[in-house]
Each structure stands twice: as C-alpha cells, then as structure tokens.
Symmetry: C2
Subunit: 223 residues, 2 copies
DNA sequence: GCAAATACGATAGTAATACTATTAATATCG
DNA sequence: CGATATTAATAGTATTACTATCGTATTTGC
C-alpha cells in the first residue's frame, strides 16, 4: 500500500480530548502502542505510560477516561485504517473472487511494514489488535459502549467484506458469521501458534493461517 | 446423556488443596460457578465468594492461589467432563461422519440440562466456559501454566475431535486449526448474537450456530 | 498586546482489588 | 485424650484505577 498520508478520524465519543490535537495527545497514542505491545494490556498502566512520556497520570486522563477507553480508541483507529486498506486493495479489481481473496489476506495477516509518517506504528498496532482487541469488547459494559459507537469501525469492516462474500455467493446465508469467524479465528490461531501449538497446525509455510482461512471461505461458498 | 455419576478428577497441579476433598471446597466450586455466571469473571472476587459461602477470603486461598487458578480449574473440569460426553456420544456410532456431526453439536452448543448430582451446575459452567474461558489462557503467564498442564483437557478434546476429522478426511492438513476455530468461533458467535448482532447472522432457527459450523466443517472436508 | 480561557504539571488522596500473615477456635483421627 | 490438620477471624500490604485540587505556563481571541 502506498503512503497516502491519510488522516484517520475517530468519533469524539471515543475520547475525552482528541489525542490528535496536541503533542501530548500524540505522544500518549504512540507510546501507549509501544507499551501495550511490550507489557500486554493487563500489565500496561497509565502510571507507567506517564513515566514513559514524562507526564503525570492525571494528564493522560484528560484524553481518555480509562485505559479501556484508550484500547477502544486504538482498535477503532486500526479498523478505520483497515477499511481504507480494504478500499484501496479492492480498487481496480473486477473479479469478486479476487477481491475476496485480497480482503481475506488483509484480515488475516498482521501488518509487517510501517508506511505511516504519523505517530501511529501500524505494525505494533496490528499486533495489539491481534492479541488484545478481544478485550475491547469483552467486558460488562459492551452494550453501553456499543451504543456509543465504540465498535462501529470493526462492524463496518465486517460488513464491507460480507458484501463481497455476497457478490461471490448471493445465496450465502451467514456472511457476517463467516467473516467474523475468520477475523477472530486468524487472531487466535496466531496466538495458539505461539503459545498453545497443539491447538493449531504448524507448518513451515509462511502464510498458513491465511491459506487455511481462504480455503475455508471458498470451500464454504462453493456450490 | 444419562446420569453416569462419573467422577471428574483434576490434576493436583491445578489447585493448592483439592476442593473435592471437603465441604468447604465443594461449596467454593458450586458458589463460584453461580457468582462468575452472575457477575462475570472481572466482577467476581474471592471476597464476594467468601461472603456468599460465609467463609473468609483467606480460607478460599487455601484451595486456589488466585482467582485465575480457580477459572483454570473450572474450565479444566468442563473439558474433562466434555471429553466424557464425547466418548459417550461416539459409542456405538459407526459412521465417522455421524460421529463428527455429533461431536460438533457437543462443542458448539451450551449445555441445557443439568444431569449431575454433584456440586457442579453444568449448565452454568458451560455458560462460563462459553463466555469466560478465553481469559483462562489469554494471560501473560500462559506458557508457564501450559507447562503445568493447565490446558491439557482442552487440548485433549481438540485432539479427539481432530482425530475424527481425519477419519472423515484423511488428507485434511489442518484438523486442529479447524476444530479450535469451530469451538472458539461458536463461543464468540453466541456472545456476538447477544451483544454485537451485526457481527453475526441472527435467524429464528434455534441451532443456527451449530448448523453454520457443521456446514463449515463438512464443506471444508468435501473433496 | 493583554485579558481570559485552556492546558499542563505537580501532588495528594481514595476505594477497591488481590493477596499475605497471624493467631485462635474447632473438628478429626488414631 | 492428645496430636494434627482445618477453618474462622482479623489485620495488613502493595498495586491499581481513578479523582481532586491548585498553581503555572501557554495559547487564543479581540
């Protein structure tokens, strides 16, 4: 993907003060990505982040009301950005099959090259989304946060790819189930490969997870 | 499934004192299942459990060194018990296809009838496993706990069903990936149906999740 | 260019959580 | 009946996730 230098806008519902509007805000975003990747979301605290950026905890709370709100912001950023990646990858590809194949690649592979000039390290962010994004919606407050639009960009990405599924197979009855299964499955299989290998099937092949889920989808859609 | 009154044994690595060896221990198990189901795992604390069973926190710590250890115990209990369910359901079924179909039902449907005479409410426990079991292995200490055998019964269940997959399709290259995708997917889709319905495909049909994953598996294995 | 708003830093404090430690009462078992 | 293990009762600790206050710096609007 070429460096389009596009600007990702996040709904004001998802922050207290826009982190994109100040130096401190951008430092919060970039350093939190590094720290969450390094410590995991549980080990990450605003206190540690404050020390890392030389600002008190209380200043961070001006931007995000909780560390969970920050995770929601980050995953939302990722999915908004990923929608752009999807749109870009689809352009000038006429065959629905080819578009679906390309979309599945985007959904199932972590990002490897940081093309961004911004404060967001997309490689690390995609790592975080793969390993921690579950925690953004798996809470007791899901319903409330969902109403505030916390998961809109994720849902939009699922819908977009589901629509391609329907182009390939107009009779498919469960396109959303299929795509959300693929996304979450790919995230989990990567984790399993690293920590619980007997739950997956390790191969030397580089993109075995993408291959598996691509096969799964296309065989499911065959008539 | 008939009431076999079978005794589930859990590896001593997974508790400090066997909760099955005393009244207090059994009360800890049965009440914790109710409380985790009611409050969610985050909202659940040993303090609340202590109040509910009229015992101090410190007594509970004699049985489990942490609330996470208790969750690991509970999921381990569930998967050991589910292996028995699998074995029982497979007996006298000759066709590998039928066995696989039956196994997928067991893996993708929450339990609805509590046949047990024991202190374990299997209906609630299966709810907990569906919604919280992710948290048992998604921690920074996975590797350590995995070495201690914390996930052996889960892995055994996956292996068992993967073996049936191989009977149906000896050439299948990713049976474990397929089955763990199905299990985790079914858990998630149930959650999505309740909280994020646009990530799934709601139907009036009762077992739509089981139907979907059964189709997914059999279409994947078709040659 | 100057007041007014805003942002930030510095510091302190709080309630809850996840444990740990200690001691005394009680039940169990040979 | 005496030794041993088990549990109750209580207290205490470090950490976490926030909240509150206040003075100073910085920007902004006119």
């Amino acid at each position: 993907m070429k460096n389009l230098n596009l600007h990702i806008e996040i709904s004001p519902e998802l922050y207290s003060k826009n982190p994109d509007s100040s130096d401190l805000g951008r430092k919060i975003i970039s350093k939190s990505i590094e720290l969450i990747d390094e410590l995991g979301f549980e080990g990450f605290t605003f206190k540690k982040l404050g020390i890392a950026i030389n600002s008190p905890e209380s200043s961070i709370y001006r931007y995000f009301e909780s560390k969970h709100a920050l995770l929601v912001y980050l995953t939302s950023w990722y999915w908004t950005w990923t929608e752009y990646r999807l749109v870009f990858a689809m352009s000038n590809v006429d065959s629905p099959e080819e578009r679906l194949r390309k979309a599945l690649e985007i959904l199932t592979q972590p990002v490897t090259i940081d093309n961004s000039v911004s404060h967001v390290n997309e490689v690390l962010l995609s790592e975080i989304v793969f390993s921690e994004s579950l925690k953004s919606y798996h809470t007791t407050k899901v319903d409330e946060e969902n109403k505030r639009g916390a998961f809109n960009s994720y849902k939009a990405a699922v819908r977009r790819v589901s629509d391609i599924v329907l182009e390939v197979s107009p009779d498919c009855k469960q396109p959303h189930m299929l795509i959300s299964t693929v996304i979450e499955g790919a995230h989990q299989q990567k984790y399993f490969a690293e920590h619980l290998p007997s739950l997956t099937d390790q191969t030397d092949e580089k993109n075995s997870i993408t291959t598996f889920y691509t096969d799964l989808v296309f065989r499911f859609l065959e008539t």
